[in-house]
Amino acid sequence: MTIDPVIATIVQYAYAWLFLAAALHKLADIADFRSVLATYRVLPEASVAAAAWLVVAVEIAIGVGLLLQQRAAYAGGAAVLVGYAAVIGLNLVRGRRFIDCGCGGATQPLSTGLVVRNAMLALVVTIGLVPVASRAIGWIDIVSIVAGVVVAGALYAAANQLLAARARLEEWV
């Protein structure tokens, strides 16, 4: 099985954007991210500060790895996304719903929607592990790639806002 280069390239750039934007967002307010990480209660308190930097470093490594078309970056990206889904799921099971997700954008509490979102993101990034078919790339392919990445980004942001809005509605009942 092979995958068309247009689809593979859209996945590559969209996820590089996702991981680098996530890392930059955390770097912009690392203290805030540290307190978010601490409230997840998955790590011993003493290691949270180091772990916060580690997460940022891993996200940057994955983002850059994707730009350089490294296979390991796709696998690592999927693993990280599954990991996020797992810790969100764990806190939902613990009943600790009302902690900040730290998902970027508006603050929002945890929800099953976020677990589904991350699981789907993890599933799609594995497309990058499939060998790419070789064919000549024309200008129309470039149009498709650029437009595909832009649309993927806009829809991802829209989905996040809808999740945050739904959580707010639930809180008011």
Binding site: S35, A38, F98, I99, A147, V151, A154, A157, A158
Partner: protein, 205 residues
Amino acid sequence: MDALIVSNVVLWVLVIGLSLAVFALTRQIGVLHERVAPAGALTLSGGVKAGETPPKLSLTTLDGQTLALDAYAANGRGVLLFFLSPTCPLCRALLPVVTRIAKEERKWLDLVFASDGGTRDEHAAYVVEKQLQAFPYVISQELGVAFRVGKLPYAALLDEKGALVAKGLVNTREHIESLFEAKRLGVSSVNEYMSAKARDEEVNA
């Protein structure tokens, strides 16, 4: 073949336009949520009423000092009580707002943070994290009960005579400012303020 290419390019342009429109719509939904706010749910009934003085409680701050709310009134100062929890995302978002208000109103107002539950360490770490060392931080269940704090973030404003001006669930900067508006206008609750404002707008319109 040309037709297909043209239609493809046209479709992409439309899809980009549509996805940006969807993005803008979801953003507006979020903004609307902030604007309309949980109308009816702001002031929960019970507890200290506007104009009343809260009961005398012996409170201890995180750094071990005793704190009496009536001591502020004795010095002719008002108090903004901000009820929060380290795990509440909205409280976190509002912290810069309340500390800024405390700074602006420092001529007559002191800011006190209050919380219940959780471990001392958790609160102490939160104070360091958010740099709230300049303000008293009280952990007291009684205080929360006295003001009927049902949901967080919650705020109560006491005037210079120690009487409650207004209290309520505060989700936005506008809600906190409405407590001060309540003092200025002499209305007792955020709900009353909001409905008065709505009436004003109707009259103006």
